[in-house]
């Protein structure tokens, strides 16, 4: 029982990271209408941005959930950096392009290479870390529930939740969400209705890549930082988005949760006696994903038509 709880806890942390990545990807997917393969590297970019900023602000006193205040400032800087880069990329690369969504997809592969090249050139390929001490499992939880959860885990989950709620409010409480969906649905008609689609798209890039950056920072905080972390996780993030139903931000959250959990729950299969080794964990996640798609061909939150 404690074992399952532990797997669930691991899954929750991992899911939080995946969710941040997948919401951003889903936003871009639905509004700019292409699968953005540079999203993973945007995550990495944000993580490195925060690394540099942490070097500056890391010393700021006080801690929240075991993390120095400076870390949160660095997080914000990383998010801002990713947003700025994404907006610049949009203006310089995507916007002037006269191509379809697959053409954009291919372009985004090119963009991903450029981002990674820059990071690799500036920071090398070796792995790096935020200089924050780990504090080990929270004793209370370990004693009462026999589940090891660190403050850092809690910080990741809480921060992800805060960002997700903020996004939810942004989409629901302002007309922005509706404008985004309208722009995604039919950009010409959106303009006819008076929506300034240019701005909507910029906002989309800002929000999407800032969230991606947050995901990247937490990912780096969780394990470590190298120029490939974002790209390595991109496949999983895509799986989450598609599993959730393309274009549905809430679907992406659900998909992220599911994929993150599946990923961490695979050992359970071994525990209950199935002859499936951990090496097959990604395979199991993918097979389940395909199975879900067969039942719901448009994703969990996608409509059934």
């Amino acid at each position: 029982m404690a074992q399952i709880l532990q797997y669930l806890a691991n899954g929750l942390v991992f899911s939080s990271i995946i969710i941040l990545g997948s919401i951003g990807l889903s936003l871009v997917y639905s509004i700019a209408d292409f699968a953005n393969f540079a999203h993973g590297d945007t995550m990495t970019l944000g993580a490195y941005g925060a690394l540099v900023a942490f070097g500056v602000f890391g010393g700021l006193g006080g801690t929240v959930l075991g993390l120095p205040i400076g870390f949160f400032i660095a997080l914000a800087v990383g998010m801002a950096l990713a947003a700025v880069v994404a907006v610049l990329t949009h203006i310089l690369v995507y916007k002037p392009l006269d191509t379809d969504s697959i053409g954009l997809l291919i372009t985004s592969i090119g963009v991903a290479f450029v981002y990674r090249a820059v990071l690799q050139a500036s920071f090398g390929t070796d792995f790096l870390q935020y200089d924050i001490r780990r504090s080990g499992p929270i004793p209370v939880l370990l004693d009462t529930l026999d589940v090891a959860v660190t403050q850092r885990d809690v910080a990741i989950i809480v921060s992800a939740a805060v960002l997700v709620v903020a996004l939810h409010l942004l989409l629901q409480r302002t007309t922005l969400g509706r404008k985004m969906r309208a722009t995604a649905d039919n950009p010409d008609l959106a303009r006819v209705s008076g929506i300034r689609t240019d701005r909507v798209i910029l906002v989309m890039w800002v929000v999407g890549s800032a969230l991606a950056a947050a995901g990247g920072v937490f990912l780096a905080l969780y394990s470590q930082l190298d120029p490939r972390i974002g790209f390595n996780i991109l496949l999983v993030v895509f799986a989450a988005v598609i599993l959730g139903g393309i274009g549905s931000v809430y679907g992406a959250m659900l998909g992220g949760l599911l994929i993150g959990m599946l990923h961490e729950l695979t050992p359970l299969l071994g525990d209950i006696g199935l002859p499936i080794s951990n090496a097959y964990a990604p395979a199991v996640a993918f097979v389940i994903m395909v199975a879900v798609l067969l039942v719901r061909p448009r994703g969990i939150a996608g409509d059934m038509t």
Binding site: T175, R181, D185, N186, D188, R191, V192, S193, R196
Partner: protein, 240 residues
């Protein structure tokens, strides 16, 4: 004719390199309803798209009152009091009816709730389906929604592309009535209609377009009475 509120003057326009409109001129008087008729592919929709900034005029000018609007962006044109109902793809399929209507009013300063409520009153067909996604609407219901969406802005000038296409006779009558009502409330209307006799019937003036230019223009009634126009463009009798 009253003072022109919309003037299209010597406009060439088209898609990519393909020219569709050829030195086309027409005017819409303040408070008027004018109807554009003509064969398929004559360029009627292209006129509306050019006026509304979806296409940039290659030459010539488009003026709203005295103001040049040729080449202005649609989202800006909306804000100076022009509304447009496209012929196809004219609703947001993945948004609900209510959201569609509200999207029609993003450029409004206020009073959105009131207008929307009023529109539900006027179009009960929509009221029943407020929370349905627009893509589940029948062809005719969709057409009504598209029309209603453009009314949310309460524009001074309304461009409508085939409002009656796909409508049942009774609904078409209602829509034509509504066009007249809106017009009486002060909106000048430029309308494209294949249901030419009905369209001209409620219009003050008419234009017959063929191959990108205006072939005939004049009082709506006189066009209806013109035997040549009838034979070439309007068909035998009223279509409903």
């Amino acid at each position: 004719m009253t003072d022109p509120i919309l003037t299209v003057d010597g406009v060439d326009s088209g898609y990519g390199e393909v020219q569709v409109l050829d030195d086309l001129s027409l005017t819409l008087g303040e408070g008027e309803i004018a109807c554009l008729v003509g064969p398929n592919g004559a360029g009627k929709s292209t006129v509306l798209k050019t006026v509304f900034g979806m296409l940039e005029p290659w030459t010539g000018s488009v003026r709203l009152g005295d103001r040049e609007i040729g080449g202005m962006a649609p989202e800006d044109i909306v804000r100076i009091g022009v509304g447009y109902v496209p012929q196809t793809e004219n609703v947001f399929g993945s948004l609900t009816i209510d959201e569609n209507l509200r999207m029609g009013g993003v450029a409004r300063d206020g009073g959105l709730d009131e207008v929307v409520a009023e529109l539900y009153d006027r179009f009960p067909i929509l009221d029943d389906k407020r929370t349905a996604n627009a893509k589940t609407l029948s062809g005719g219901q969709r057409q009504v929604l598209a029309f209603a969406r453009a009314l949310v802005m309460e524009p001074d000038v309304l461009l409508i592309d085939e409002p009656s296409a796909g409508l049942a006779p009774n609904t078409a009558k209602e829509v034509f009535d509504d066009v007249e009502t809106v017009n009486e409330l002060g909106t000048s209307i430029l309308m494209v209609e294949q249901n030419a006799r009905e369209g001209l019937g409620i219009s003050d003036r008419g234009f017959v377009l063929d191959q990108g230019t205006v072939k005939f223009e004049g009082e709506a009634d006189s066009l209806l009475d013109d035997p040549e126009v009838s034979r070439l463009y309007l068909g035998g009798e009223s279509r409903r």
